[in-house]
Amino acid sequence: MMTNIETTPAEQMLGRLLPTRRTESFHYTDLRSLIREFPAPVITPETGGDNYKRIVDASRLPIFDGKFFDALKDELPAGVTLVQDVERPAANGLDDTLLAINGLGESDAFGVVIEGDATSEKPLGLAHMANSAGLTNVYHNVTVKPGANACVIDRYVSSDGIAHVSSAVVDLSIEKGATANWIIIQEENTDATRLARLNISLAENADLNVFILNAGGKLVRQEINVVVSGENANLDIKGVNLIGGNSHVDVTTVLAHSVPNTTSNQLFRNIMTGQGKGVFQGQIKVHQIAQKTDAKMACNTLLLSDDAAFYAKPELEIFADDVICGHGATVTELEDDHLFYLMARGIKERTARALLVEAFVDEVVEELESEPLIEALEEIIARWLEKNG
């Protein structure tokens, strides 16, 4: 385990370049004040770890402390090709701090190409596990080929008590007529900092479902940038953010509909406990030529603690006239009536609350297609609630 971390001038400089609330998109997530000490990269990754468990039957690509361990991987499903050492996108000067951070140290950059539909039966797992304190980075470039049908579980877990800062940048391209489920599961420890970006491009007739579960981390910034650039493409983003303790979780999406006849639907359900802080920023840009765009966005928060707070900021920039765009954000508390009804049947208050809280997020989880995956996610959620509810 890495114990001896020294911050070098490069990291110190980066720390100073982190965006502050003065940058509009970081208004609610002032990284410079939230990340006090920027650690040096982990040099010797460590494999294994108690929390490195399987949740569903998947072909896993193990990535420990940001490093891919080819020898430990499961057999690849048919149609999946790995491309080692892909070129990562260049940081645009130091303007984009995340890309600059992502390029530090010996982090891995590898690509995955998916053809056919083998992974829709048995998903491909990008199994990220942090075992060492320090900075780890990973870059993936994933292409789902025309007509393919893919399911990828992009999961982030860490050993308990390890203060790590991890960045992940993923470029995901869904090509013509391809269908994909992209599942992000973040269950890092409560000392972890995660800076993540998922860049998506959708070609003609592409159909992508993104599901994201945040059930861990101390500071999480998950960006999702999408360019819907092929006609008749459809994007669905569903998310569950479980935010408690002193965690700060920010999900920021930027969707550009740049051609006619595309649809997008975003739905987030957030549970706030303790002194959690949550942020959802959803920007939808509809290009002038993107007629018949149908873009919807909803963000519903269940506030279980007076000390927790959630900030939702929708932003619509619409330059076409024949479009349907809608957004809604709600913040509610548990209904006393519902609680009474359950308790009047002999269900203890704690259990009754848990049932109602789970119901609030299960409505989203249950829309996934895979039954084993639904069960696995519900179990993670139940475990989180047990600890934080």
Partner: protein, 251 residues
């Protein structure tokens, strides 16, 4: 089994007194009917029995098997054997009916020191009880009460009662919203639970229900008090003449 002694209760938020010195005793094995005009406090009384915290008991006591239940929360009362079939059962989105039934049954069993039910046994019990009440298993796959028709909700309440086997059953206008066949089915369900160690309180406006569930005693509730008590003939008299005379006589 149930003794309500000079009970006074207010709406917790506003201090408005709704129950104003109510006395009622129901013996084990007894079926007591409570009748009374709209707004007289019947549902309020049922909620107070179940432990809803929108109401505050300001004086008096409620004894269940000789012990005060005022300090118990709703789940403790339910586990002790108090069951309220709601006048307006609530819809609870996202909570699957079957999951709810299983959790409720097992929590009560746990509270009583019994072993939890295994899934096959649970399913068997639910199927049998649902069959008796003409409830489809399809309906039970939906979220709790969500989109159930008025009558379906009432049947679902009785299903829960059958499965939970309470000692004190309080039925708040279970007959409203039921069609004629359903009224019969539900009444049979209630009668099947009649036993020497179980008491039932039936709140209703209509003799029709009491033709099926024949009461041992009938109590008239008016303005937060029981103003008259009689046998099943009292209900018939009310049906024929209304409340005016009785309430005027009591005042």
């Amino acid at each position: 089994m149930l003794e309500i002694k000079d009970l006074h209760a207010t709406i917790a938020d506003t201090d408005t007194e709704i129950i104003k010195g109510l006395n009622l005793t129901v013996q084990a094995g007894e079926v007591a009917a409570i009748m009374g005009p709209n707004g007289s406090g019947k549902s309020t009384l049922s909620y107070i029995l179940a432990g809803r915290d929108d109401y505050e008991v300001t004086s008096g006591d409620i004894l269940f098997n000789g012990e005060s239940i005022l300090e118990m929360d709703p789940s403790e009362r339910a586990s002790a054997g108090v069951f309220l079939a709601f006048q307006y059962p609530m819809e609870i989105p996202g909570v699957a009916t079957m999951q709810f039934l299983k959790v409720a049954m097992n929590e009560q069993r746990k509270a009583r020191g019994q072993e939890e039910l295994k899934t096959p046994e649970f399913i068997r019990l639910v199927k049998a009880a649902a069959g008796d009440l003409d409830i489809s298993m399809e309906m039970l796959k939906r979220p709790l009460n969500v989109g159930f028709s008025g009558g379906e909700k009432k049947r679902a309440e009785i299903l829960q009662m059958k499965l939970l086997e309470p000692k004190l059953c309080v039925l708040d206008e279970t007959d409203s919203g039921l069609d004629i066949d359903a009224l019969k089915i539900v009444s049979e369900g209630v009668n099947a639970l009649r036993s020497p160690d179980r008491a039932t309180v039936v709140i209703t406006h209509y003799q029709r229900l009491l033709d099926y569930i024949v009461p041992d005693s009938v109590h008239v509730l008016s303005k937060g008090k029981i103003v008259k008590t009689g046998d099943k003939e009292l209900a018939k008299e009310l049906e024929a003449n209304g409340y005016a005379n009785i309430i005027a006589a009591a005042a």
